[in-house]
């Protein structure tokens, strides 16, 4: 939960691009389909190969198909939870641009998150990096913001519409500078 100051309004909530989630999801989909393909295309061979080895060790008191369906369903349950965890991490990593601050919220797993905020007038540099053709076509990239008095830059990799975010941050920075009269606007 982010607590806003008086007269503070949220202007934009920036999240990672969906392609980032899709890339992480691909592994889960493959892991979900792998047992199915093994059963359909190689089931007989695996049965013939492992049957004699397992027969002296394990005996089934019921229908083997029910046994396989049961464990496949539990495998999918486990994968579904991994996917939900990835989505949680993906969806709760946000940059919130308000009319006073830029707030970086980073989810670091369950019950563990880091929130950093800094005022627009402390921003010294905003950099956008769009790596490659896919990022250019789908409009995602990495935005980094360097502030006065801190050695490290705040970075948000894989953010959706980084140029739009940069424009907003720069315009809010310039607006904050105009209020405080000292100049050197960001470009």
């Amino acid at each position: 939960m982010i607590s806003l100051e008086p007269n503070e309004e949220i202007l934009l909530v920036a999240r990672k691009h969906w392609i980032i989630f899709l890339g992480e999801m691909l592994f889960i989909v493959l892991a979900a389909l792998a047992p199915l393909f093994l059963y359909i295309f190689l089931g007989d061979r695996i049965g013939a190969l492992l049957g004699p080895v397992l027969a002296p060790l394990i005996s089934f008191d019921g229908d083997i198909r029910g046994f396989l369906l049961f464990f496949y369903a539990l495998w999918l349950v486990a994968l579904w939870h991994v996917l939900a965890y990835i989505w949680t991490d993906f969806y709760l990593d946000v940059w919130v641009v308000t009319n006073q601050r830029l707030i970086d919220v980073e989810q670091l797993g369950f019950f563990n998150r880091r929130i950093s905020g800094f005022r627009h007038d402390t921003i010294q540099d905003v950099t956008v990096e769009v790596p490659g053709i896919l990022a250019t076509l789908l409009k995602y990239g990495t935005i980094s913001v360097r502030t006065a008095g801190k050695d490290t830059a705040f970075s948000f990799p894989g953010v959706s519409h980084p140029y739009k975010l940069k424009e907003l941050i720069v315009s809010e920075h310039n607006r904050a500078k105009d209020k405080g009269t000292s100049a050197t606007p960001l470009l």
């Binding site: 060790l57 049961f70 369903a73 999918l76 969806y91 709760l92």
Partner: protein, 86 residues
Amino acid sequence: MISGYMQQPFSLPFSALFPLAIHPVALWVIFGVALLGALIMTAVFFYHWRKYAVGSALVLSADAVHLVVLGILFSMAFIGVAEYSL
């Protein structure tokens, strides 16, 4: 000198255990534990999604999708263990 026992170390008593019969009750126990685990994880996910999702209308849909998918998967597991038990 190698004794007969050393030559066949697993002849007794381990051979009496095998083949290990997988009783349907074992699957019901695993089913119950998995269901309990899923319920706890669901509570953890819902807590995070509802509390921390800033300005999002997607969270309620995510809740619904999560519950529907879990329902389908546990129905599959139930069918599997029921088929095994028959």
